[in-house]
């Protein structure tokens, strides 16, 4: 079933807030977008299309989300950079319990001393649920297009 204008508005806010949290570096707030039990994965289009199970990042549950966020903020060593998410072509289907959302993403990466480049483009294939605290991700699957990543992916997409 297609979704109401109101739900569509809420979804747009969800994706805008999600993007802002990552791009601003406030990754300690990133696990808050998920509802337990949850699954977060970054998968190449190649692995996804061929049914190969390997992820580039793979978090099952809030604990792993928190570990990933903390590592990215405090433990990993990488050069200074700015990220900018663009999310569009949001489409949603609501079956009453789960809202299946598909959206395109582009993440621009600006490394210090370099021009802005494209880190990744791809598609979110998400499952969103209603909770007392608003819409949350039950599952977030980030399928990225390029078989060749420029450098490293240092934070969640």
């Amino acid at each position: 079933v297609s979704v109401s204008p109101q739900l569509r508005g809420e979804l747009e806010d969800l994706y805008a807030d999600y993007s802002e949290v990552i791009d601003s570096g406030a990754l300690e707030r990133w696990p808050g977008f998920f509802a337990e039990p949850c699954l977060y994965r970054i998968v190449s289009k190649e692995n996804y299309d061929r049914g190969l199970p390997l992820s580039l990042m793979h978090c099952e549950g809030a604990g792993m989300l928190k570990d990933r966020a903390f590592a990215s903020q405090k433990l990993n060593v990488y050069g200074p950079r700015v990220w900018r998410h663009m999310v569009n072509n949001v489409r949603a289907r609501d079956d009453g319990t789960l809202i299946a959302v598909q959206a395109n993403f582009a993440v621009f990466e600006t490394l210090h001393d370099h021009h802005t480049g494209i880190l990744a483009t791809g598609c979110y294939l998400d499952k969103v649920v209603r909770t007392d605290a608003g819409l949350k991700f039950r599952e977030k699957l980030c399928v990225y297009d390029s078989a060749l990543i420029p450098g490293s992916i240092v934070a969640p997409l």
């Binding site: 390997l54 792993m64 450098g151």
Partner: protein, 406 residues
């Protein structure tokens, strides 16, 4: 510009070897196109007849293919007619024939030219000359050697047999991971790094950095200088295995010198490091560097080949192929997939490496006359039973200089 190695010898690594265009061209010629075996694929990537994998030896595009007879053959990825790259996908199945899209020259699965359209002309005109001999126009074969699940290829006629090339000692470590069990492909990651290709091999041979740069390794004891460790090399010094055992998260003479040791750091979800012993012996990690293009990773339960594809003096591609064994149960596969978070372009550990070697490359700019200091553990080349040493790097430079006449 003539380049000479610093007079201190193998305990110095001059920066021109990472930046000089002429050095790079000589590397492609003498190393990748020379008498070496390059890793190209896993057998589990081409299980059925007609399955192919496109791969690279240095910058040369090649493909390996399983024939109708089950044998794996290798060819330059280049049509014998006009040089068109035949396969652009990394993997696939060719069907009954290898066909170039441009003029549809088609080849048997063993590389012989089968036929080509208009060979006898059309309506009595045109066509190939009478004396055109299809046998002389097959795909260019390359030497291929498959051993226990992994496939290597060579562009050079004088490359010694694979087992001799690797040597008995290195073969022992190779066979520890490739132990004859059928492999199961888990997936790929690929990244392009702004650094010289050798820095990736050196990063693995540089055992000390793991205890300093990587908070994850250090804190959780996955690879750390205070643990029982060994460095083993072959006679050329070009291949090596770094062997170690997982240690505890404890403050000791080693960890107290490591700024990145976090005594109070706890994982919110310890399943990441829920490792099980699966190989004989005490070692929980063996990192292999097989000259010239393969890092074979066995860190706890995460297994991968990392194939190095050079792309000029200042960049290379790293192709990761993660795998397990066909006999793995669901729990083991889940474990491997969780532990894969440590590795790859977004790995808790490998991310640091990719970033830091690019930073090294940035440091080499306009520093062709300067050199790195490689004196940890002394100035020798002998196998040793700890990892507070740069010995695998010195042995590597010694072997490299011989190949390169530097």
């Amino acid at each position: 510009v003539p380049r000479t190695w610093p007079r201190e010898g193998d305990s110095r690594a001059p920066y021109f070897i990472y930046t000089d265009e002429g050095i790079y061209r000589r590397e492609l010629e003498r190393i990748f196109e020379g008498p070496t075996w390059s890793y190209v694929a896993l057998e589990c990537e081409l299980p059925r007849p007609g399955d192919y994998k496109r791969s690279f030896i240095g910058e040369t595009s090649v493909f390996v293919l399983r024939g109708e007879d089950g044998a794996v053959r290798g060819f330059l990825n280049r049509c014998a007619h006009r040089g068109v790259e035949i396969y652009q996908h990394d993997t696939g199945n060719v069907g009954r024939a290898i066909i170039c899209p441009y003029h549809q020259w088609n080849y048997h699965l063993d590389g012989r030219l089968k036929g080509l359209p208009f060979r006898k002309g059309v309506k009595g005109v045109g066509g190939m000359p009478e004396d055109f001999d299809p046998l002389k126009h097959g795909l260019t074969p390359i030497r291929v050697h498959a051993r226990r699940g992994a496939i290597f290829a060579s562009l050079h006629a004088a490359t010694p047999p694979f087992e001799e090339y690797l040597g008995e000692k290195m073969l022992g470590y190779y066979d520890r991971v490739f132990d004859g069990r059928e492999l199961r492909l888990l997936g790929y990651s690929r990244q392009r790094l702004a650094a010289n290709w050798k820095l990736m091999l050196e990063n693995i041979k540089d055992t000390c950095h793991a205890s300093l740069l990587h908070v994850f390794f250090v804190t959780f004891g996955l690879f750390r200088v205070d643990q029982p460790s060994k460095v083993r090399m072959d006679d050329t010094g070009l291949h090596a295995a770094l062997i170690s055992e997982r240690g505890r998260q404890e403050l000791n003479d080693g960890t107290k010198q490591m700024q990145s040791f976090k005594a109070d750091l706890r994982l919110q979800d310890p399943r990441l490091l829920d490792t099980v012993r699966e190989f004989p012996g005490d070692a929980t990690v063996v990192m292999h560097t097989f000259w010239p293009n393969l890092i074979l990773q066995q860190q706890s339960n995460t297994l991968a080949t990392r194939q190095i594809v050079p792309r000029g003096p200042d960049r290379f591609d790293l192709h990761w192929t993660f795998f397990g064994y066909a006999t793995d149960d669901e729990a083991m596969t889940a474990r491997r997939l969780r532990q894969a978070n440590l590795m790859g372009p977004g790995g808790f550990v490998s991310m640091d490496d990719g970033e830091v070697i690019a930073r090294a490359q940035a440091g080499f700019r306009k520093a062709a006359d300067a050199a790195g200091v490689v004196e940890m553990g002394g100035r020798d080349y002998a196998d040793c039973d700890h990892m507070v040493t740069d010995v695998a790097l010195r042995a590597f430079y010694r072997g490299y200089r011989k190949v390169m006449d530097l």
